[in-house]
Amino acid sequence: MKPWMKKSTGIVLFLLAWEIVARSGFVPRTYFPPVTQILLAGRDMLTSGELLEAEGKTLFRALSGLLLTIAFGVGSALLAARYALVARMWAPVVEIMRSIPPAALVPLAIFALGLTPKLFIGIVVFAGFSTVYLTALNALTNTEPVQINAARTLGYTRNEMLFRVRLPAAWPEIFTGVRVAAGAALIASIASEMLAGKDGLGFMLFDTAFSMRTKEMFAVMLAAALNGILFNQLVVWTRRPLAGWQDKLNAQGDAR
């Protein structure tokens, strides 16, 4: 069976089940519209352009926020991995950042920043930073001791080891953090849009829900999910040059 066929079987069955249940009359139509109607509503929103506009806004905020998050997160982690004092100094602040839900900051941030792109991107960065930083710091500090010893005997300085041994070795683990942060970035983008009530997919979700336009609501959810897929695929593509070797290594172990 070709890989893509395998993948679609699950989804197709799921959609089929939905369609049947929706049309069977067991569940009220308003709450559980059939798949076909959802898709039609989605198509209408696409042609009117409102869906793409909202998507564009949400994606842009999440993406630029995530890139900034990775840059700041990995950068800070490198510094903290190199200087233990820095790590200790930042630890409580990072913990506090991690414990505050980005959504909880939105009201405050609107006060401070207004309904600007800075607001949304800022919330996104806040949402993902601690995850990336902590994962990266953990990965960088837990490098395989034998590798460190080998590099030491070969004459590499601590700084060189950080960039030439620890960081390359850490990418696979860092990317597990990035995957989580990507999810957080999209959540933060949509959540802030829900709360700020200006535009974007988040706003559209609540808008359609409150006005009982469930078909449109599910269509927007579908769009949000597709956005998420696109987003994750971007992360996967970025992961390959940096951490692809780990997958091949594992495949080797399974093959033997």
């Binding site: 590798q147 080998a150 070969l154 004459g155 041994v165 390359p168 070795a169």
Partner: protein, 289 residues
């Protein structure tokens, strides 16, 4: 053989060469009464009690002892990865406080010591950090030569984890040699390699040591291997480790897997070392109780 006295009472090894006696041929590696404890806080264990021996230029020294006797800790000290608590450790006339230039280490865990995101060739290049007098092209040429020397010509662009254990260890050896080492420290390099490949690798190591004029210190638990490869054998005691015996090996070189291993001198030495190690296990048992 009779009851062996408690190991601490054995007098210093007679075969050890004191630098003052032969200044012209000062040993490349000189270890004098080093000790090392590991652990923190309340959990400090003295691993090495007092170890002394030397390695002359071009010598192949094997270090054996009962399991858990701190062989690896000793090697880490020699490599400069640990700092010794007391005693003197000199390489090429200078005290060792951090990994010195000219010393390469081949670790037991080859799969983790090689960098998995680099190809075999790049791993060998990675070893050339300290080389400042070669341009990139010359370095690449050297890496190629080394890979051919260890018998891995053609595997340059594949990755370490695509190779078998013995082959990975060969990459690690090539990397060690790439660093223009003079002293090769080997931490049970063949322990994780299958038995058949082990014999090949032993001969390969001896050839490489000769070809590249390496002084070698091989830490191993395998007495046969220790005797087969060495010009001298250092036998360690249980923890806290001391040197129980420092025995010269008079077998001719080059060694041969069949002939050497049937040589009566080989068998006699092997017998002696195994008995020593066995008695230490028995001796230690009475000490503990």
């Amino acid at each position: 053989m009779g009851q062996l006295r408690s190991v601490q009472q054995i007098s210093p090894p007679p075969a050890a060469i004191h630098p003052a006696e032969h200044p012209a041929s000062a040993p490349l590696l000189w270890v004098e009464a080093i000790s090392k404890s590991l652990g923190t806080g309340t959990q400090i264990t003295k691993i090495i009690g007092s170890v002394s021996f030397g390695a002359q230029r071009g010598e192949f020294v094997s270090v054996v002892g009962p399991s858990g006797c701190g062989k690896t800790t000793l090697l880490m000290c020699l490599a400069g990865l640990y700092t010794v608590d007391s005693g003197r450790l000199t390489f090429n006339g200078k005290a060792v406080s951090s990994p010195p230039e000219g010393v390469s280490v081949v670790f037991q865990d080859y799969s983790r010591s090689l960098l998995p995101w680099k190809s075999n060739f790049d791993n060998v290049l990675f070893g050339m950090k300290r080389i400042t007098d070669m341009d990139p092209a010359a370095k690449r040429a050297l890496a190629g030569d080394l890979m051919a020397s260890v018998g891995l010509k053609g595997f340059e662009s594949s990755y370490p984890w695509q190779l078998s254990g013995g082959m990975q260890q060969r990459v690690a050896i090539a990397r060690g040699l790439a660093a223009r080492s003079r002293l090769l420290l080997l931490d049970e390099p063949l322990a994780a390699v299958d038995a058949q490949t082990r014999a090949e690798m032993q001969d390969l190591l001896l050839d490489l040591a000769k070809k590249y004029d390496q002084t070698c210190v091989l830490v191993t638990h395998d007495v046969d291997e220790a005797v087969y490869m060495a010009d001298r054998i250092v036998v360690l005691s249980k923890r806290p480790t001391t040197v129980v015996a420092d025995l010269p090996v008079s077998l001719p070189k080059p060694r041969d897997q069949l002939q050497t291993r049937e040589d009566p001198a080989y068998l006699g030495l092997r017998h002696k070392v195994i008995t020593l190690i066995r008695s230490m296990r028995a001796g230690a048992a009475t000490q503990e109780s």
